[in-house]
């Protein structure tokens, strides 16, 4: 994985000093809260309902065991002994004191980590495929391109006061595991007919209150023009994105109102101009970054045989492992979705165990999934049983990846000052319901996502089943949505009808699941059945 050189370290250290200085000036009253707010946000510090929340960047979701140990230590030292892994492959701590923030950033800098641009109206942490560098189906490892863009976007002088936040995802497989087309910019590394690598740019996607799927504006940007093209995309947005209305300020609205064709024309004109400005790093820089992402030394001829005599282990293998490009290896997913648990939460103890297991079994590497689970990317099949046994003992052995229990949920009204309704208790009740009624297995692949308000941090638009919490005359109310997907078959979910109360939404999810079980044809997922039969049978069952 990528390691800092003296330059990267100097920049992160400078940022810590800058933030300490800013926090000090805030305490001295030289900065008003309005002036301080964007500065602390660009260091990941939010003011939540009960306390400050600090969001730490995990670039493209990759970290090593030393870094995971540091995250565990921070949770213990400055928070309540746990952290929350997020849908942007980051981690956030929910009970932070403002006066500790500088020290936490300094602790992070010691392990080549930071909270830079994890919030604010700037280019955010860049996300990627959690199986990058491991997946059997990828073209190349997408992370070197994400790292190149990470450096370009860090402390960008022109793009630090954008109309609104800006999220970029980079993938390099036709299978989209990063919700690429629901980003402000989604980049897919592709090969052209001449066999050269390049980048397809999708611009103007997003969730939030106005969900949109990004159109492809450029099918092939050569790799030695990647930064320049991104710069052109951002400049057109910075100049012309709406600033009169916060809710219309994302680039998706600009692309929609201007039209993708006109936006592309302006980007191309800006790009042509910028080619003469010399802002593209030399190809040697990309090659330097690539050396950090070379394959670890996989064992030749590692055995792919699995002893399936223990059915619990066999189920975990079937559900929680993913095909690897090296024979005899898999990527193993550690579910942070125990039945009745809080999706994405991990205690310091659990973080340390996951770190140690990564060191023992996965070449010292871990990944955070946007679905709020943890991946050990390179595990020998022969080691799976030992890994699973250790996870089981720590309560981390849930075999529920991609099932209805593998719920994405935002922090909701339990933590968030924007939320209208709680998300976590709904997620807990649904996982308990389906674990108890035994339908999880029969339902197969089913993505359920819950947001506690229309800002859609819980990706409800992209759930096969989505739940949106709203406020109905002071009472929490939950709308049900069906038919969304964040994957390569991307689509936006539609609302079924009137909402439900907290108990009612759990029943409604089960009702919708039952319609699928009744109507499905061979091999269909919930989403496939919904797409074939449409909303009507679900509505009939829910409201009929």
């Amino acid at each position: 994985m990528y390691l800092y050189d003296q330059y990267d370290q100097a920049m992160v250290d400078a940022r810590v000093a800058e933030f300490r200085d800013q926090a000090q000036r805030r305490l001295e009253g030289k900065l008003t809260e309005d002036q301080f707010k964007p500065l602390r946000l660009m260091n990941g510090l939010y003011l939540q309902l009960h306390a400050y929340m600090l969001r730490v960047a995990i670039p493209y979701g990759t970290l090593n065991s030393r870094q995971m140990h540091a995250l565990a230590d921070i949770a213990e030292k400055y928070d309540r002994g746990y952290g929350h892994f997020t849908t942007r492959q980051n981690i956030q701590y929910n009970w932070i004191k403002l006066e500790d923030a500088g020290d936490i950033l300094a602790d992070l800098a010691e392990v080549e980590m930071h909270a830079i641009q994890t919030s604010g109206n700037c280019i955010r942490n860049i996300s990627s495929d959690h199986f990058a560098g491991a997946a059997a189906d990828e073209l190349v490892d997408p992370r070197p391109y994400a790292e190149l863009l990470r450096q370009w976007s860090s402390f960008h002088p022109e793009f630090s006061y954008l109309p609104r936040k800006f999220k970029i995802a980079v993938i390099a497989s036709d299978t989209d595991r990063a919700a690429m087309r629901l980003h402000d910019i989604g980049i897919q590394i592709v090969k052209n007919d001449a066999g050269e690598l390049g980048a397809a740019f999708y611009v103007g996607g997003g969730m939030g209150r106005t969900p949109m799927i990004a159109p492809c504006i450029k099918e092939f940007v050569p790799l030695d023009r990647l930064v320049t093209y991104a710069e052109a995309c951002l400049r057109v947005y910075n100049r012309h994105g709406r600033r009169d209305n916060k809710y219309k300020a994302r680039i998706k609205i600009l692309v929609h109102e201007m039209g993708a064709e006109e936006y592309t024309r302006q980007v191309d004109a800006e790009f042509d101009h910028m080619l003469s400005q010399g802002i593209e790093p030399p190809f040697a820089e990309l090659e330097r970054i690539r050396t950090f992402f070379e394959d670890p030394l996989f064992e030749e001829g590692a055995s792919a045989e699995i002893d399936r005599s223990d059915p619990d282990f066999a189920l975990w293998v079937d559900r929680n492992t993913h095909a690897h490009k090296a024979d005899g290896y898999v990527s193993a997913v550690i579910s942070l979705k125990p039945v009745g648990g809080i999706p994405g939460d991990a205690t310091s103890e659990q973080m340390r165990l996951m770190a140690d297991l990564a060191k023992d079994y996965s070449f010292d590497e871990l990944r955070v999934m946007h679905t709020q689970n943890i991946v050990l990317p390179h595990v020998r099949v022969a080691d799976l049983h030992a890994l699973w046994t250790a996870l089981e003992e720590a309560g981390l052995g849930s075999s529920n990846l991609d099932t209805i229990e593998d719920i994405i949920a935002c922090p909701g009204l339990d933590y968030c000052s924007l939320a209208n309704a709680r998300s976590i208790p709904v997620a807990q009740k649904i996982s308990e319901r389906f674990a108890a009624n035994g339908k999880t297995e029969a339902l197969g692949k089913l993505k359920l996502k819950i947001s506690g308000c229309i800002n859609a941090c819980g990706h409800h638009h992209a759930g096969h089943i989505g739940i949106l919490g709203v406020d109905k005359k002071g009472v929490e109310n939950y709308q049900l949505l069906l038919g969304g997907s964040e994957a390569e078959d991307v689509s936006l979910a539609k609302i079924t009808g009137p909402g439900f109360d907290e108990a009612g939404i759990v029943d409604a999810v089960e009702t919708a699941a039952d319609v699928y079980l009744r109507e499905r044809e061979d091999g269909e997922r919930f989403l496939d059945t919904y797409r074939r039969i449409g909303m009507a049978p679900f509505k009939e069952a829910l409201y009929g």
Binding site: R25, P157, E158, R243, P281, E285
Partner: protein
């Protein structure tokens, strides 16, 4: 640094030439009248409209009515990329925590609504030992140093 306290308490310039002695006009009036050599660019103005006239411009003020409106950074970059050599002055809600990025985008003068603390300004401008990107200030990016 040249503090012109006699005329303006808040003006900070990083240039050796004499400041323009008349007020800046709007972009529209500038395009209408050939005599003006100072213009003020508002966030919604298109800085590219000035490009055919750069030679007769000595001062471009870029207004920041609110510090969070970042359009002025692009206006500055565009002018410098086109070769504008005159004074580029950030005016309005210009705060000490924004000036380092403004310098990077080519601003060489500041006239903030509220005076900047001199020590804080020095600290801010010496904050970044390196830079990751090429920009109007022509500092050598990290990627260039790595492959020098």
């Amino acid at each position: 640094m040249d503090n012109l306290s006699s005329e303006n308490d808040t003006l900070i310039r990083y240039r050796d030439d004499e400041p323009v002695d008349h007020a800046a006009v709007t972009v529209d009036s500038f395009l209408d009248q050939s005599s003006a050599s100072a213009v003020r660019v508002e966030p919604g103005d298109d800085a590219r409209e000035l490009l055919p006239h750069l030679e007769r411009l000595s001062l471009v003020e870029v207004n920041f009515p609110a510090f969070g409106d970042g359009r002025g950074y692009s206006s500055a970059q565009i002018l410098r990329e086109a070769g504008y050599q005159g004074e580029l002055r950030a005016v309005g809600d210009v705060l000490v925590d924004q000036v380092a990025y403004m310098r990077r985008c080519g601003f060489d003068a500041f006239d903030p609504d509220a005076p900047l603390n001199e020590a804080d300004l020095e600290t801010a401008l010496s904050r970044w030992p390196e830079v990751y990107q090429g920009a109007a200030d022509k500092r050598t990016p990290i990627w260039s140093k790595r492959h020098a």
